[in-house]
Amino acid sequence: MKTRALGFVALAAVIAAAIYGLFVVPADLNQGDAQRIMYVHVASAWLAYASFGVTALAGIGYLWRRDLRFDAVALAGAEVGVMFTAFAIWGGMMWGKPVWGVYWQWEDPRLTTTALLLALYVGYLLLRRLPDDPARRAARAAAVDIPIVHFSVLWWRGLHQGPTIGDPSKILNPSAPLLFVAALMAMVAAFTLVWWYLMIRRYELARVEWQIEEHGRLGRITAARRAVAAATSEEPAG
C-alpha cells in the first residue's frame, strides 16, 4: 500500500516537474527548446549510475552473505539501470541532433563509454536469463558484475573529470539563472522517486519469481518421490 502511494507521488512529481520544465522555465538563449531535454537527460544519467552502484554493492553483498535477497536487489538495479541508461542515451541523442548536428557524436567520450556500459549490462541481464539454479546464477552474476562496475568507475574517473551529477557547464551557462537549476533539480528529485518505486517493485517481483521457481522445483521433487513410492509399493503386489 505504501509502495502504491509512493508510485502516485512519483507520478505526480514527474508531471509537476515536466510542466515546470516545459512551460514555466523559458527556453535557453543558445540552444532553444532542445535544452529542456537536459532536465530529463541528466536525471536519467544520474539514476543509471545510482542503479549500477546498487547492483555492484548487492553483488558484493551476495558473495559475502549468500543471501538471495541481495541477488534480487542486484537484478532490480541492473534492470532499472539499463532502462535509465537507454533513456539517458536516447535523450542525449535527441539533444545532440539539433545542437551538434548529429545523433551520435564519436568525439564525446561520455556518450561512447555510456553506450559500452549499456552493452555490459544488457549482457549481464542476458546472462541472468539463462535457466539455472538460483544460487549458482546469483554467484555467477555477482562475479561478472563486479569487474564491470570496476570498469565503469575507471572510465568515469579516468576519461572525464567532471562533477558526479551530470556536467552542469554543458547544460547550464555559468551564469545560469536559478530557474534552470530549479527545473533540473525538480526533475532529478521526481525521477529519483520514480526510481525508488521501480526498484521496490522490481525487487518484489524478483522475490515472487524466485518463490514460483522454488515452488515448481519442490513440486517436481514431490511428484518424482510419489512416482517412485508408487512404483516401489506396487512391485511386491505385482
Binding site: L126, L130, A139, R140, A142
Partner: protein
C-alpha cells in the same frame, strides 16, 4: 615464499599442459589463425581497393582480427577440458584457484601472442605497411594486448564454458570489457607505425599495461567464484 613458488609451479604446469594439447591438436590453432587472416582479407574487400584508406585503417583492422581470433582462442582453452569432462577436476585440484587462473591466462596469452605475431606480417603484406622499422613497439603492443585479452578471456571463458548459449555469451560479455584494450592497442599500433610523431606511444603502452594488471588482479579474484559451480 614456498607458497608462491608452489603456485607458480602449478600455473606453469597448467600452461604447459594447455600448450601441449594445443600443439598436438594443431588444426584448431591453425584454423583460428586462418580465420583471422581471412577477416583481414575481407576487410580489404569491405573497404575497397583504395590502398591509402587501407593503410590508414590497418591498426584498427589488425586488432579487430586479433579480437575475433582471440575469442575463438580463449574459448577453446576451456572447451577442451569441458569436452573431456576434466573441468571438474581442474576445479577440484587442492591448489589456489588463482594459480589455476594464472596458468590458464598464461596459456591464453601465449596463444594470443602467436596469433598476433603471425597476423602482423599478414597485415604488412595485405595493407602495404612497413612493420620492419617499428617492430619493437609493435611487438610491445601485441604482447601487452595479448596479456590483457587473455586475462579477460580466461575469466569469461571459464564462466561461459558451461552455459548452453556460450557461443554468443562469450563475445557478448567480453567485447565491451575489452573495448578500452582495443582502443589503446590500436592507438599504440598506429603511433608505432607512423613513427610516433606526437610522442604518445609511451602513454598508450602504459595504459595497456595498466589494463593488464587490473584485469589480471580482477580475473584472479573472480575466477574462483566462476569455477565454483
Amino acid at each position: 615464499m614456498s607458497e608462491l613458488r608452489r603456485a607458480a609451479a602449478v600455473a606453469v604446469a597448467i600452461a604447459r599442459k594447455d600448450a601441449t594439447s594445443e600443439l598436438h591438436g594443431r588444426q584448431a590453432a591453425g584454423s583460428t589463425l586462418f580465420f583471422a587472416a581471412l577477416v583481414l582479407l575481407l576487410f580489404g574487400f569491405a573497404l575497397g581497393p583504395d590502398s591509402q584508406r587501407l593503410t590508414d585503417a590497418a591498426p584498427g583492422l589488425l586488432w579487430l582480427a586479433i579480437v575475433f581470433g582471440g575469442l575463438l582462442t580463449v574459448s577453446r582453452l576451456h572447451q577442451l577440458e569441458a569436452d573431456d569432462g576434466a573441468l571438474e577436476q581442474l576445479a577440484l585440484y587442492p591448489v589456489d584457484r588463482r594459480a589455476v587462473y594464472a596458468g590458464k591466462a598464461l596459456a591464453g596469452a601465449a596463444a594470443m601472442l602467436v596469433l598476433g605475431g603471425l597476423l602482423l606480417p599478414v597485415v604488412a603484406i595485405l595493407y602495404a605497411i612497413p612493420i620492419g622499422a617499428a617492430w619493437l613497439p609493435l611487438l610491445a603492443a601485441v604482447v601487452l594486448g595479448a596479456i590483457g585479452f587473455a586475462a579477460v578471456g580466461t575469466a569469461y571463458a571459464g564462466l561461459t564454458v558451461r552455459l548452453r548459449a556460450r557461443e554468443v555469451m562469450l563475445p557478448l560479455l567480453m567485447l565491451p570489457i575489452v573495448a578500452p584494450l582495443l582502443l589503446a592497442a590500436v592507438k599504440a599500433t598506429g603511433a608505432s607505425l607512423s613513427g610516433d610523431p606526437l610522442g604518445e606511444l609511451g602513454s598508450w603502452l602504459q595504459l595497456l599495461a595498466a589494463f593488464d594488471v587490473i584485469m589480471l588482479v580482477v580475473g584472479a579474484g573472480t575466477y574462483g567464484y566462476l569455477l565454483e559451480d
